[in-house]
């Protein structure tokens, strides 16, 4: 019989995850960056308020929930209204949906966090990044950084849920979380660097379908070697 363990996702990783997600969205859709960050802040406030409300701190919880919902709605509205044209509207919508899903995944109203929700959120964010590439609203460097930030965000969300499940929220875990996040961010930086190197290597004259066939051949070669 030991004291109650609050098996909620670890705080630091959850916060870093949401920050990275918002960063990813705002890199793709620069016009909506302020709105997205405000919406994330509102979301965090609202969920924390709801959690406080459920655990007995009624007054503080209600205030947090109301203010949070207002701020989140305002942020989302700002992000959507700042969009010019249909492509940016799609990106803003997908990005907000992804951030909200991720937020509910790592800051659950009840339970120990949801890997499914955070995966859904990250999938929506990936679609945002892909949309950014397709509609050409962002340049290659921004897209690369956004993509790396997205992977970092997803990894931090997973880590936050795992640490929360294993150690609970009361335990001191920030060193472990920071080390993990640092490692992933470093690799993200390396990935961006690698992407830039690959871009500079690319010969403009090479037709894209030749690259496609080469890629398919590479995949088959890898599969053959794997067995």
């Amino acid at each position: 019989m030991s004291a109650e363990i609050t098996r909620r996702p670890a705080r630091l990783s959850a916060a870093l995850s949401l920050f990275a997600a918002a960063l990813s969205v705002s890199l793709v859709n620069t016009g909506a960056s302020v709105g997205t960050f405000v919406a994330v802040a509102g979301l965090v406030l609202a969920i924390e308020g709801a959690h406080r409300f459920r655990t007995g701190q009624r007054l503080l919880g209600t205030v947090g929930l109301l203010v949070g919902v207002l701020v989140a709605t305002g942020g989302a509205g700002l992000a959507v209204t700042s969009a010019t044209g249909q492509s940016q509207l799609i990106e803003a919508g997908l990005g907000l949906f992804g951030v909200f899903c991720l937020g509910l995944g790592v800051l659950p109203l009840r339970g120990s966090g949801s890997r499914g929700l955070s995966k859904l959120g990250c999938a929506a964010l990936l679609l945002t990044v892909v949309a950014g590439g397709l509609f050409q609203t962002a340049d290659a460097v921004a897209l690369l950084v956004a993509c790396a930030a997205l992977v970092v965000s997803w990894d931090a969300a997973e880590n936050s849920i795992t640490v929360g499940e294993q150690l609970g929220r009361e335990a001191t875990t920030w060193t472990v979380e920071a080390a993990h996040f640092g490692g992933t961010t470093l690799v993200g930086g390396v990935a961006v660097g690698a992407g830039l190197v690959v871009r500079d290597l690319g010969t403009p004259g090479l037709p894209l379908h030749a690259v496609a066939f080469m890629l398919v051949a590479l995949v088959f070669l890898t599969l053959a070697l794997h067995d």
């Binding site: 030991s2 590439g133 490692g183 992933t184 894209l208």
Partner: protein, 420 residues
């Protein structure tokens, strides 16, 4: 478990990278094709990063080893990385004794450990009556990418124990005795130290027992008799059947209380130079014949803290009560007393006491009271238990009713007060 397990955290990252690359190819967008490098780098990362082989040692320090019940005890845990690799993600969960409640700070900590580095954390538990051994701590070590993890038990350098018992000065026994010196007052007279009577000298009395002063004064030869003290052979039998895992919600259950009572009783009885054995009525046989001596004492203590019969939760298997009683009866010496520690949750417990009694073993029952008084069902159980106590007392088996809130010594004294 010491082989690394895949967490499958990064599974699918290559597939996603390929899908994005395919989308880029179909839409003829170089930027999208580039994005797949991010996926490839992360896939390579989790493959390339080495899984450290953890080699941890743990030291546990308790600020008071024998606290009073209800005291807060602070426990400091120091974890050292004995290996030569840095552990970037090491999570420690200390093996708090199952009966204790952690009150301050969690008994868990995540830490980054460089080779040779020691990190400490502390937490507090509320002491409960009984003797509590700490379990091994559990460590979960992951590689930096979180792709593989290994879970291992870390044993403390020296075994820590919280001893929260009040010493019992006079454990309950009945006056059936062995021919060795102990603390049970025998009815016979002989060469003890407690004066019993003087009588006229009979041929063959030891010279040392002649009252020489009296002879000098009156010329009469008288012999002083002393009360002989003899040792008892006692088997402490704990009722650890699945049904005995009862207790008021949120408190110690009867088997835990029984094991703690057994620990206190064996210690007290051994201190009184009796021969003490230990057995359990449980799914698994647990029997140690009565004996004496330091080694025997340690063996009994180990049995109580490690044997599966006294585990914190019951096993699913049926309890072979009849066979067990039969086998214990066969292994017991003729004059062995039985101290039966049982919450008396069912009639089988009463039958067991009767059977030992019927085979000529003097039985005393120590019954931790695991009943509550809230719902009608609980009140019924309490009434049934009272009936069982009465039934036992009617056939001359002394029963010590032990309310779990009180120290055992108090309950024994109360019972002694009833009898005299």
């Amino acid at each position: 478990m010491t082989t690394p397990q895949q967490t499958n955290r990064w599974r699918g990252v290559i597939a996603v990278a390929l899908v994005v690359a395919a989308a880029g190819l179909l839409a003829k967008r170089q930027e999208l094709l580039l994005l797949s490098t991010v996926g490839v780098v992360f896939a390579a990362y989790h493959r390339a990063v080495p899984m450290p082989t953890p080699n941890l040692s743990l030291n546990r320090r308790v600020d008071t080893a024998s606290p009073a019940s209800g005291d807060e005890v602070e426990i400091e845990v120091a974890v050292t990385n004995e290996g030569d690799e840095t552990l970037y993600d090491c999570q420690i969960v200390d093996g708090v004794p199952p009966a204790l409640t952690v009150t301050d700070d969690p008994a868990r900590r995540g830490m980054v450990l460089r080779p040779g580095e020691t990190r400490t954390f502390s937490y507090a538990v509320e002491a409960e009556r009984g003797r509590h051994a700490f379990d091994d701590a559990t460590a979960i070590v992951r590689d930096p990418s979180g792709d593989r993890e290994v879970e291992l038990d870390v044993r403390a350098a020296d075994e820590t124990e919280l001893d929260c018992t009040i010493e019992i000065t006079k454990p309950p026994r009945r006056s059936q005795t062995l021919d060795t010196v102990g603390s049970v007052a025998a009815n016979g007279t002989g060469s003890g130290i407690e004066f019993q009577q003087t009588r006229s000298y009979r041929r063959g009395d030891p010279v040392s027992q002649i009252d020489w002063k009296r002879y000098a004064a009156s010329g009469e030869l008288t012999t002083v008799d002393f009360r002989e003290e003899q040792a008892a052979s006692i088997l402490v039998l704990v009722d650890a059947r699945a049904i005995a895992y009862r207790g008021p919600p949120g408190e110690t259950h009867a088997v835990d209380a029984g094991a703690s009572a057994a620990a206190q009783l064996t210690t007290a009885l051994l201190n009184g130079r009796n021969h003490v054995g230990l057995a359990a009525l449980s799914a698994e046989d647990c029997f140690r014949a009565p004996g004496a001596g330091r080694e025997h004492r340690l063996r009994l203590r180990k049995l109580l803290s490690r044997h599966s019969a006294f585990a914190a939760s019951p096993t699913d298997t049926d309890d072979p009560v009849d066979e067990q009683v039969e086998s214990y009866l066969g292994r017991l010496g003729e004059q062995t007393q039985i101290l039966f520690v049982s919450p008396l949750c069912d009639d089988t417990a009463v039958e067991v006491a009767h059977r030992f009694d019927g085979h000529g073993h003097a039985v005393t029952v120590v019954s931790p009271d695991a009943t509550a008084n809230e719902t009608p069902g609980e009140r019924l159980a309490a009434a049934e238990r009272r009936n069982r106590l009465r039934a036992l007392r009617q056939v001359g088996i002394p029963v010590i009713d032990w309310p779990l809130g009180d120290p055992l010594a108090l309950a024994i004294d109360a019972q002694r007060g009833v009898r005299t």
